[in-house]
C-alpha cells in the first residue's frame, strides 16, 4: 500500500486553513454591500435635509461632512461590493449553463451522426 500518499494527505490536511465555505463568505459580503448601499443613501439624504434646514454655515458643513460625504462613500463601497458579488454569482450560473448547453449540443450531434451512420450502413 502506498503509505507515503496517506502521510502526505495527513500532513496537508493538518496544514489546511480551516475557514467557512467560500459561498457563505460571498453571500455575507453581498449582504454587507446591500446594507452599506441603503445606509449610505439614508445618511446622504439625512445630511442633505439637515444642511438645508439650517442657516448656520458651521452646522451645514458638519452635516454635509458627517452625513452626505460619509453616506456617498458608503454608497460607492456598497455598490462595488454588490456588483462584484452579484456578477460573480451570475457568471458562475452562466458558465454552468454554457457547459450544459455544450453537452446537449454534442449529444445532438452524436445522435445525428449515429442515425446517419445507421442509414448509410443500411
Amino acid at each position: 500500500m502506498n503509505e507515503e500518499r496517506v502521510k502526505t494527505f495527513t500532513a496537508e490536511v493538518a496544514e489546511m486553513k480551516l475557514r467557512g465555505a467560500r459561498a457563505d463568505r460571498e453571500r455575507l459580503l453581498l449582504a454587507v454591500g446591500v446594507v452599506a448601499l441603503v445606509a449610505g443613501v439614508g445618511l446622504a439624504v439625512f445630511g442633505g435635509f439637515q444642511a438645508s434646514g439650517t442657516l448656520e454655515l458651521g452646522d451645514q458643513v458638519a452635516y454635509l461632512a458627517t452625513g452626505t460625504f460619509i453616506g456617498l462613500a458608503l454608497v460607492v463601497a456598497g455598490t462595488a461590493l454588490f456588483v462584484r458579488y452579484s456578477v460573480a454569482r451570475f457568471m458562475r450560473f452562466w458558465l454552468v449553463r454554457l457547459v450544459h448547453e455544450h453537452r446537449s449540443e454534442t449529444d445532438r450531434v452524436v445522435e445525428a451522426l449515429k442515425s446517419l451512420e445507421n442509414k448509410l450502413g443500411k
Binding site: M1, N2, E3, E4, R5, V6, T8, F9, T10, E12, V13, A14, M16, K17, L18, R19, G20, A21, R22, A23, D24, H102, R103, E105, T106, D107, V109, V110, L113
Partner: protein
C-alpha cells in the same frame, strides 16, 4: 493510524429539507467502502458532504484525524479528495488527449498522465484523437477515472459508476477500482446495484431514508439486509 475519512452524526440537506439524519461512516486508508441503498436514500448527499459541496448542519466531518467540517470543496480537492460525479465527468467536445491535458492543471506533465492513463486503459490509447463525447459510456467512464487518477488522489469518491453501462463493462471498471485501491487510494463508492460493487469492496454501508441501516464487511452484507433497505422493513 486514524481513519482517512470519518463522518460523525452528519446531518445535512438542501435549505429547509434535511436529507441526512445523523450518518456515521468510516473509511480506512486503502479501503474500498461501498455506500449502498435505494434511490433517495441520501447516498449522493453523503458524497457531497465529503467533497465539501454541501455543508453539514450538524455532526462532524473528519479527515486524517482532523475536524474539517465546513471546509470548502476546492480546499479539499487540493489536498487530494477527488470526485467522479454521476454520469459523465468529462468534456465531451474535447478529444481524449485534450481531456487528459485538462488534468495537467495540478502540475503533472501530459506525458506522465498519458502514460498512466493508457497503461491502465489501453482502449483510451486507441481513441486518443477521438472526441470524448462520441465514445461509448464505458470508455467515457474510463477517461474520467484516468483523469481523476492524474490528480494523485488520496480519497476517490465515485458516484454511480455503473449508470447506463453494460454489466461486463461495469465489472471491468470495478476491477480497475480494486487495482486503484491496491495502490493505496481509499475509495468511497456509491452504487445502487449492490451486487456489482460488493465483489471489490472491503466494507459496505447500507443507507435508507437518510440514515445508516447496516454496516459491515462487504462479504457479510446479506440479501436480507439489502432487501430490507431497498424494499422496506418487513413487518
Amino acid at each position: 493510524m486514524s481513519p482517512l475519512l470519518e463522518l460523525r452524526g452528519i446531518r445535512a440537506g438542501y435549505d429547509a429539507i434535511e436529507v441526512l439524519h445523523g450518518v456515521d461512516l468510516v473509511v480506512q486508508p486503502g479501503q474500498v467502502v461501498a455506500l449502498l441503498g435505494p434511490n433517495g436514500a441520501g447516498k449522493s448527499t453523503t458524497l457531497k458532504v465529503v467533497s465539501g459541496l454541501v455543508t453539514p448542519t450538524g455532526g462532524q466531518l473528519w479527515m486524517a484525524g482532523r475536524d474539517v467540517t465546513g471546509v470548502s470543496a476546492d480546499a479539499l480537492a487540493r489536498v487530494g479528495v477527488c470526485t467522479i460525479p454521476e454520469g459523465r465527468g468529462i468534456f465531451p467536445n474535447l478529444t481524449v488527449r485534450e481531456n487528459l491535458l485538462m488534468a495537467t492543471f495540478g502540475g503533472s506533465r501530459l506525458s506522465d498522465i498519458e502514460e498512466s492513463a493508457y497503461g491502465r486503459f489501453p482502449r483510451l490509447a486507441e481513441r486518443r484523437t477521438q472526441l470524448a463525447g462520441t465514445m461509448s459510456g464505458g470508455e467515457q467512464q474510463m477517461l474520467s477515472l484516468a483523469r481523476a487518477l492524474a490528480s494523485d488522489p488520496a480519497l476517490l469518491l465515485l458516484d454511480e459508476m455503473s449508470m447506463g453501462l453494460a454489466p461486463r463493462i461495469v465489472s471491468e471498471l470495478y476491477e480497475q477500482v480494486g487495482r486503484i485501491a491496491a495502490d493505496g487510494v481509499s475509495v468511497l463508492v456509491i452504487e445502487q446495484f449492490a451486487r456489482t460493487v460488493l465483489g471489490v469492496a472491503d466494507w459496505a454501508v447500507v443507507m435508507s431514508h437518510g440514515t445508516v441501516q447496516a454496516a459491515g464487511p462487504a462479504a457479510q452484507i446479506g440479501e436480507d439486509v439489502l432487501a430490507d433497505a431497498y424494499l422496506g422493513q418487513r413487518g
